[in-house]
């Protein structure tokens, strides 16, 4: 029997194939030079650097990859893709991994980031547009970081930077339909 932390590579993994299908990138083209991680602004805060993440996909280490903080700390700044000597669109790969992680319902290592996205997208069909105040309030409540950024509030309000009331646009109803249709299509 093998020890848990010992890697058993699975070269032809369902993880790699689905990532390649979603992203249109050939993961095996990565030769691990690390230029992505060298330029990545958040690599310092990740548990796996982007390069290690690519390696993880090559070896088919699903849990490590989908469970990494990497995919949620990616800022989509595209530096990795812009500079990759193998011309792999790494940012696109990470995007696919996020979507895959959600589809797989795997526990996000940075749950707040996913929560933020969920709330953000939750508000759009309601108001048609983003509304910072609702976003902030809902986030603080649901993430239980009740005081996050509260210090800024008074100044933001006095500067008139935050609109108290959410926007009201006719488009909202259309957007609601749009969301529904997208969900429907994605179900198939």
């Amino acid at each position: 029997m093998t020890i848990a932390s010992v890697i058993t590579p699975s070269p032809i993994s369902e993880l790699r194939t689905s990532v390649e299908k979603r992203s249109g990138q050939n993961i095996l083209e990565c030769y691990q030079c690390g230029k992505c991680s060298a330029g990545c602004p958040t690599a310092y805060a990740m548990d796996l650097t982007p390069r290690q993440l690519m390696r993880g996909i090559q070896l088919g280490l699903k849990d490590e990859v989908l469970g990494s903080t990497t995919i949620w700390l990616c800022l989509s700044c595209q530096i990795c893709s812009a500079r990759c000597p193998r011309q792999i669109d790494i940012a696109r790969v990470l995007e696919s991994l996020r979507i895959l992680a959600i589809a797989e319902k795997s526990k996000p290592a940075e749950k707040d980031v996913l929560l933020f996205h969920r709330i953000f997208l939750g508000l759009i069909p309601r108001y048609g547009r983003a509304h910072e105040l609702s976003l902030g309030v809902l986030y603080n409540l649901l993430s239980k970081h009740f005081l996050a950024n509260v210090a800024l509030l008074p100044k933001m309000l006095t500067k008139g930077k935050l609109t108290i009331l959410p926007p009201r646009v006719k488009g909202a109803s259309e957007v609601k339909k749009l969301f529904a249709k997208v969900r429907a299509v994605e179900k198939q």
């Binding site: 800022l75 595209q78 530096i79 812009a82 996205h117 910072e132 993430s143 933001m156 926007p167």
Partner: protein, 287 residues
């Protein structure tokens, strides 16, 4: 000759946290005879959240705005770098006929994907030769900060060089100000993480502010509401956390253009920034 009439998509933030960007942009364009016709009841482009959770959604939301612009038959001018990026990505994805069909079906009505999307920065940069300057910004050292969303990936956004863009610098120089050559023009400020991972935003924004300060910049010029809020609203915390006096006004390039064209700080809503630019501008006799 580029058309002087544009369909205009402000984007959510320009009606709230970035009101000053919207106002200064309209003000400047109007007095230059550039007409901005705002899209009727436009909605959100999905920002970073859509493409982080659903490919299709991240195309469908911007597609709705593209369609609106198509109906107006005008090129679409965008102020927010995030919206610009999302719209350009959508256009790119919609080049695939299958996607185009699917998405037009989702948003209902015909979509031809024929719209040209331009960022306001480019629109104004093309005017730089003949700007009516009332108050040249002589003696003002500006660090032009482009962020990520305007320049990467170049083959899709087709805006400017990914590593050392020049468009904003040229515009700022045309205002009589001095733009500084620095290495952080396109480094990331922390994007959409301020609520969830403030620490990262502080770290990244600090590096940018520190570098600009060190090179003797009087202020940063930006073209993205997200960058603006990350760099402007965090300065107190940064100074406290890193014991590093990085205080630097963060101005929208439209505000600098407006200033040079002689509009008052009030008209340009210069008072809206958390880091007040007025003392610095007064000292330079620019306000």
């Amino acid at each position: 000759m580029t058309p002087r009439v544009y369909a205009y998509y402000p984007g959510c933030t320009l009606h709230s946290t970035a009101k000053e960007y919207d106002v200064s942009a309209r003000l400047v364009c109007q007095s230059l005879g550039i007409e901005l016709r705002e899209l009727k009841d436009w909605t959100c482009c999905g920002a970073s959240s859509a493409h982080s959770t659903s490919d299709l959604l991240s195309i469908a939301l911007p597609a709705r705005e593209l369609q609106a612009a198509e109906e107006m038959g005008l090129p679409l001018a965008v102020a927010c770098a995030m919206c610009f990026s999302r719209l350009k990505f959508a256009i790119h994805e919609l080049n695939d006929q299958a996607t185009l069909g699917l998405v037009s079906d989702i948003i209902g009505g015909e979509l031809r994907n024929t719209i040209e999307v331009v960022h306001l920065l480019k629109v104004l940069e093309e005017e730089k030769e003949d700007l009516p300057l009332k108050r040249p910004l002589t003696g003002l050292k500006v660090a032009c900060y482009y962020g990520c969303l305007l320049v990467r990936p170049r083959d899709i956004l087709d805006f400017d060089d990914e590593e050392n863009p020049q468009i904003m610098d040229h515009l700022i120089e045309a205002l009589g100000a001095q733009s500084i050559d620095w290495g952080f023009k396109t480094e990331c400020c922390g994007a959409s993480l301020p609520l969830t991972r403030k620490d990262i935003v502080l770290t990244l924004s600090h590096r940018i502010l520190h570098q600009a300060k060190q090179l003797g910049a009087d202020c940063l010029a930006v073209a993205c509401p997200m960058c603006h809020s990350n760099l402007d609203t965090t300065q107190r915390e940064i100074e406290a956390k890193y014991k590093d006096g990085v205080g630097l006004p963060i101005l929208y390039f439209t505000q600098l253009v407006g200033l040079a064209m002689g509009f008052s700080p009030k008209q340009l809503l210069l008072n809206k920034h958390l880091t007040d630019p007025l003392p610095m501008l007064k000292e330079k006799e620019l306000a």
